[in-house]
Symmetry: C2
Subunit: 152 residues, 2 copies
DNA sequence: TCTAATCACCGGAAAATTTACGGTTTATTG
DNA sequence: CAATAAACCGTAAATTTTCCGGTGATTAGA
């Protein structure tokens, strides 16, 4: 597995925070030519280090003021129960993320809705899924830090 | 307030999933001119609907195989205790996100590390912060869904 | 050691995209 | 219903991306 060097890491660092940087701007920071940077970025995408490039929206401006974490406990842990829960839960548009977890509950969901009413609607939809024992909901009071970039 | 129409929503929808789309590609999908799309995207950025454009990395390829959620309970909830905890916790590179929460604990942290050893190192650093009562750690077994895009 | 192969790099040119601009249509408003 | 503003369009200029041939450094094998 051909590894990546310090220059690649620096490119990833930059693009994680601002993918609108031009190759010219990057090349200036790294003291390399535009062509060299271009080839490296191309490779980092091709090899899958960069999965995709996305726009991050201001969620309050698009009416997603409420974020909740929901802890879900299932009745049992048969392959069937687990996979059918997963298949159903990813269909809910309110579910931004879903992780199967170790510990005292089975899944953590991150839910984004307009407000508590909308969360309530979601909650009742979720609770109708089969094999769910409990759903515990926790609500975000304030966002202290929210980062998509890994330190490198 | 919503000086944003259906066309703008469609643009946001597209760019949330792939911000590498050219204005030409977008204009083809929306049956508008390149110039019209360009002006709308410019406005959506200027007005803050699009906060930023970032590269999403494959965390396993950059050695962040372990994701944990840590629930933190503080000793008290004085303004001082809260704000000094927040100020300290955002400095840890392992902390990708930090939310103050309602409920039986005060903060949820999302932690990304290479492995359990690295999490342990983080845990011991975190535990030395003043005014922390308990830290409960939950580990991700598998990622069922992970999305940065809000449905619009 | 020498030679061949590979790799990252470079500058420059071609292709494509972004950005700026003037003018037209469409929508809003007094 | 005229005046004004807003959204749109095509074109052209500026900039960026992408392609290409060639150079020097590094490595592997003869």
């Amino acid at each position: 597995m051909p590894d990546i060097d310090q220059t690649d890491l620096e490119i990833l660092r930059l693009l994680q925070h601002n993918a609108e940087l031009t190759n010219k701007e990057i090349s200036a920071k790294l003291h390399k030519s535009v062509a060299a940077v271009h080839e490296r970025v191309r490779r980092l995408k091709e090899q899958g280090y960069i999965k995709r490039v996305v726009a991050i929206l201001d969620r309050k401006k698009i009416d997603r003021s409420l974020i909740a974490f929901s802890h879900v406990l299932l009745k049992d842990h048969s392959a069937n129960t687990l996979s059918s829960f997963e298949k159903e839960v990813i269909r809910f548009p309110e579910v931004m993320e879903c992780f199967q977890m170790t510990g005292t509950f089975d899944f953590i969901l991150r839910i984004a809705t307009a407000d508590m009413d909308a969360y309530h609607v979601f909650y009742r939809k979720l609770a109708t899924l089969p094999n769910i024992t409990t759903v515990q909901s926790f609500f975000v009071l304030s966002e202290t830090k929210s980062d998509t970039a890994y330190p490198l």
